[in-house]
């Protein structure tokens, strides 16, 4: 019962916040809504037994990515639209009718295609879908898998993170003189 309540809550939060992200015109708010979405996704993870993943989601997104984005928004002039330095007015940065129409069309196409594809796969795999069994702890298994079968990917991602760390620090550093 808990799980179903949790699922309902999480799904609602996810969908609602996502719609809010799409709908809002304030970038700061969008970011906060995104936080909600991410928490919702974490909740969804929790409902299908991905406890470690849920915790990771919270740690990484809530603790890191969202704050980073907030910083970035703040450092790049906040939520308001601005003119560029040449004085030419551009399309508002949060989008205009024209962009919405283009995006809507593109999304419509891809949505149809993806729906068709998932439907195909879904009908093909209908029999294979198993009911959810008991949720056991995944921490130990993930840990051992990461250090055995997926060691290479693990190491590469660690190098990637290091590279990202150094790279970000170097790129964002203001130029001397």
């Amino acid at each position: 019962m808990f799980e179903q309540i949790l699922f309902l809550l999480s799904a609602t939060a996810t969908i609602g916040f996502t719609v809010a992200v799409v709908g809002t015109n304030n970038l700061m708010h969008a970011c906060m809504y995104l936080l909600g979405t991410l928490f919702g996704v974490a909740g969804l993870y929790a409902t299908i037994g991905a406890d470690f993943l849920a915790a990771t989601q919270i740690v990484v997104y809530a603790g890191g990515v969202v704050i980073l984005m907030l910083f970035a928004i703040m450092l790049t002039g906040g939520a308001e639209d601005k003119k560029n330095r040449f004085g030419i007015e551009k399309i508002p940065s949060m989008g205009s009718t024209k962009t919405y129409i283009v995006a809507g069309a593109s999304v419509l196409i891809i949505a149809m295609i993806v729906l068709k594809m998932t439907a195909n796969i879904h009908t093909a795999n209908k029999d294979l879908a198993v009911a959810s069994t008991g949720n056991e702890s995944t921490v130990f298994n993930i840990g051992s898998l990461l250090l055995t079968d997926h060691i290479l990917a693990f190491e590469i991602s660690s190098i990637l993170l290091l590279g990202a760390l150094v790279g970000a620090a170097i790129i964002a550093r203001p130029k001397r003189n």
Binding site: D51, F52, A62, G63, I67, F71, S137, T138, V139
Partner: protein
């Protein structure tokens, strides 16, 4: 779910009878509902008690600082002024709730709630005793770290949405400080996780024992250093002195909560004091043996089997002892935090970052690697075991 409040209760007959009674009354299995109820009640109690402790924290701070400065401190309201915090609370509620017109109202209201939420959510996994633990998540520590970072978001939002220079700067400082110090803190915690072999608090605490030499702090040299790294990092994460830069009065008026008044301000204050309790509790649980009582008195076996007390009473005496153990350790640390605040001067911003990235993080990394080596070479035996047990073994004292 190793040992939560529910699993603790369900070992008593009374509870089981109650469940079966409720089931027959409802006509279906009522254990789920009752579990929910118990959780709800437990959460309610703990949140309130913690709020109380947070309030008492302000009182303690004032009293201890007075003591350190040879003053009296609050002494009018109640005996020794102990009800001072209630008076302050009443004052806060009575105050006018001001929202600056230029601020982003949505986020201005959201910020203190986020901060408080982040702290309160951590209580779900804090191991007060072997029975009094709301949920023993498999990813307990990890969850705690993640949730407590919401405080950072709250702080930042508060700073940003106030639309004030001081708040802005304070919020930025707070957020960057919290994010930065999360790194050494997490690494130090990770080395303990390495030793215990799990992330749930039950595992972590049960890997230790009642006596100091069985605590993780004295397990090996690396954890000994790791404790201090954690403690310093935790101080910075909770914005306590000497790292209270986000709310540095002399520079930023009052930092990120400059524009806040009334209950919203009280939320921030409460969040801070509760978070200090949380980090002290985590320190106690991870490094100082948590709720463990010497001679394994905590599981009540001594009282029930040796003293032949009734099971219910015996176990609860054990629980009380464990609670006492946990709170003693935590509150001693709490005292130390306050002591530090009133002793040390504040750091500069660049010194703060230097300390984090150039000293604490490398040390924490070194500790982590060191712990790994320790695990590999000494098969996880503690220093005490190596020194005395192995010596005794070598001397032929038996296997």
């Amino acid at each position: 779910m190793n040992s939560t409040i529910v699993s603790y209760l369900s070992q008593f007959e009374g509870y089981q009878k109650f469940v079966s009674m409720a089931s027959s009354f409802l006509g279906s299995n009522a254990s789920g509902y009752i579990t929910f109820l118990v959780f709800f009640l437990g959460a309610f109690v703990i949140v309130n008690v913690m709020a109380l402790i947070g309030g008492l924290g302000t009182y303690a701070e004032r009293k201890i600082s007075a003591d350190l400065q040879m003053r009296q401190g609050p002494n009018r309201v109640g005996p020794y002024g102990i009800l001072q915090f209630l008076a302050d609370g009443v004052k806060m509620i009575m105050k006018e709730d001001i929202i600056p017109s230029a601020s982003d109202k949505f986020m201005f209201t959201l910020a203190p709630l986020l901060a408080l939420l982040g702290v309160l959510a951590t209580f779900a996994v804090i191991p007060f005793s072997s029975g009094l633990m709301l949920s023993d998540l498999n990813v307990g520590v990890f969850y705690l770290i993640g949730v407590s970072s919401l405080v950072g978001v709250g702080v930042f939002l508060a700073g940003y949405s106030s639309n004030s220079k001081w708040s802005m700067l304070g919020g930025m400082r707070g957020a960057s400080q919290i994010i930065s110090y999360e790194v050494p803190v997490t690494l130090s915690i990770l080395s303990i996780v390495l030793l215990a072999g799990g992330m749930s608090f039950g595992t972590l605490v049960n890997a230790q024992s009642g006596f100091p030499h069985e605590w993780f702090i004295l397990h090996n040299p690396f954890t000994f250093i790791g404790f201090f790294v954690y403690f310093i990092g935790a101080l910075a994460e909770t914005n306590r002195a000497p790292f209270d830069l986000p709310e540095a009065e002399s520079e930023l008026v009052s930092g990120y909560h400059t524009e806040y008044t009334g209950m919203r301000f009280a939320f921030f204050a409460l969040a801070e004091y509760m978070e200090v309790f949380v980090v002290c509790g985590v320190a106690a649980a991870l490094f100082l043996g948590g709720y463990k009582v010497p001679f394994d008195l905590g599981d009540g076996a001594f009282f029930t089997h040796t003293l032949h007390l009734p099971e219910f009473i015996g176990k609860n005496i054990g629980q009380v002892l464990e609670l006492g153990s946990f709170f003693t350790k935590t509150l001693v640390l709490y005292y130390i935090v306050i002591w530090i605040r009133w002793t040390l001067p504040r750091l500069r911003v660049d010194q703060l970052m230097t300390l984090c990235w150039k000293y604490l993080t490398p040390i924490a990394l070194f500790n982590l690697v060191g712990c790994a080596f320790w695990m590999y070479y000494f098969e996880g035996k503690s220093l005490y075991v190596l020194l005395f047990k192995s010596a005794a073994h070598a001397a032929g004292a038996g296997h």
